[in-house]
Structure formats: structure tokens, C-alpha cells
Subunit: 150 residues, 2 copies
Amino acid sequence: MPLPQTEIPGRLQAHFAERGIRMTEQRRAILRVIETANKHLDASQILRKAQRLDARVDRSTVYRTLRLLKRQGLIDELDLMHLNGEGHYYERRLAKDHIHMACLRCGKIMEFVSDQFDKLKQQVESDCRFHVLVSRLEIGGYCASCRSGH
Amino acid sequence: MPLPQTEIPGRLQAHFAERGIRMTEQRRAILRVIETANKHLDASQILRKAQRLDARVDRSTVYRTLRLLKRQGLIDELDLMHLNGEGHYYERRLAKDHIHMACLRCGKIMEFVSDQFDKLKQQVESDCRFHVLVSRLEIGGYCASCRSGH
DNA sequence: TTAAGTGCAAATATTTTGCTGTCAC
DNA sequence: GTGACAGCAAAATATTTGCACTTAA
């Protein structure tokens, strides 16, 4: 049984090699940033962090690489309820999808894994004869602390 | 038992009146466009259609009104997998939430109502002690026609 | 070698804001 | 009458693109 994807470092680079996608220093830096991120990053944050690894990285290369990663199904794009502007956030796509919850009061982002979510997607597959490739469930509301303090 | 919200025309205007939110000709035009839309519209499309009802409507008024409607929980904001650019789409919020499926090949948007979706949200409420106010489930993949032709 | 990738600058797309005048209540 | 709303123009934000140069394979 393979290890869960979370525990394989360099998995993104490995994927590029497997599919014969060219590797550059800039891409290496960007992939590294995404692989080691411990929270959701937007394009500007990815740029800044990648430039610390390789100062040459340009903003447009970040966007081009993000588009590539999306097409390859390696990252997911999130809005996180637009708590901060209109941009998008990115995170590695792991073996198991999860739900994102954003607290509209304190801005905290929470993640939640649920078998019911998988069942729901299976229902879409069978009831709608729709082949699911990507899915995104984002919920906005109040977290436990904020709802009690209300 | 009240009629489903879908069947109450002028419901958005009624909501404004109930909450003492000022009604203007411009808002009337924008609300009318949203209420009578038979597909998902983005800000530019709403502007264009609203201007046909009242030529004075300005782009900024559209955005300001959309923000107001969002805050009032009267409309939902969608990405529809960004099939056409980076903008957002809007639709009236009805009594029952639904899932949006976007075919990545033909661009068709489908909607699906599922009790499992409601159950999943209830699970988030209880397991995470998170009070759900808005939720958005968007799925990208291949529709029945496109998957068979593949 | 050469097709793919990059930086740079400029363009495009989307949304917001400041300000002054107008209008709903 | 007055506070909320509107138009307009400009700014802010987010993303994409054209093109000449560079580089991975």
C-alpha cells in the first residue's frame, strides 16, 4: 500500500519527471514552497516565498506554474470565502478531499474530512452520470468560539 | 405552508422593504435582472441587462448592490470553475441549496439537489460546532455526453 | 539543437473607492 | 431635511500576454 501523499516529499517534482514535464530552477522553487506550506497561500505569497529560494522567480512564472499544476490536478484553488480580497489560495491536492470552513468573524480557516463528502460525490457520479475530476466545498459561518461569544 | 421562494416574484424587493433598506430605480432594475435570470450571470452581464431597464445604472452600483445582496444572504456567489475568466457569477439564493457541476469540456453548468448535501452540512454543524451560513459546492469534470464521447 | 520556459513590461480583467451631486423616506 | 445612494473617474487588485532571450533535455 502506498504511503499517503502527504508524507511523500518531492511528490510534485516526481510527478513532473514521470510525465516528462521540464523542470527548471524557478519551478523547483515554486513547487518547494507549495509542498512545504503549512497554510493556504495566494499567488503573491507564493511569489515572495519562492523568490527567497531563487531570486529570479517572476510573478508571471508563478501564475504560469499554478496554471500548470491545476491542469495536472496537483493543486486545488480556493476562495476561502474571499475573506481577504478577490484572489485565490492554493494547496496541494492530497489523497483525500476535505471541506474548508471559513469563520466570517475571526477569519479562521478550518478543514474537515468527511466520508459523507465522498458519498455525496459518488452520488453525483451515479445520479448525474457526471465524472468528477475536481470538487470544492467551502462553507462560511461562525466557528465554535465566535458563535458562543455572540 | 409558504410557497417555495422560487415562485415568489419580487421577493428580493420585498426583503428590502421588510428590512427598511432603501429602494432606488437602479436597485429595482438590478434586482429585477437577478430575479428573472434563467442562468448564472456575472457582474458585466447584470450591468448590461440592468441598463436595458434603466440606462442610468452604473457598474459601481452593480457591484455595490451585489455586495449588499451577499451580505443580506439573498444571493450566492459562484466561480463555476472559472470556465470563462476570473470573475464571479451570481444567483438568487433559494430555499434549498444545490450543487453546481461544470463540464470542463463543453462548459455546460448543471445543478443538483441532494439531501446528502444537507446532511453533510448538518454534520459540519455538529461535529465541528460550526454555524453554517453559506456554502458552496462546485464540481468540475465531464458530463454524460462528454464522457461517453471520450 | 530546439522546443519549452523565463523575465520584463505592458495589457487586460475585475473590483473598489473618493468625491460630489441626487434622491428616497 | 438628511442620510443613504448614485455616477463618474481614477485607483487598486489580480491575472494574462507578447516578445526577445535563455535553458533543459
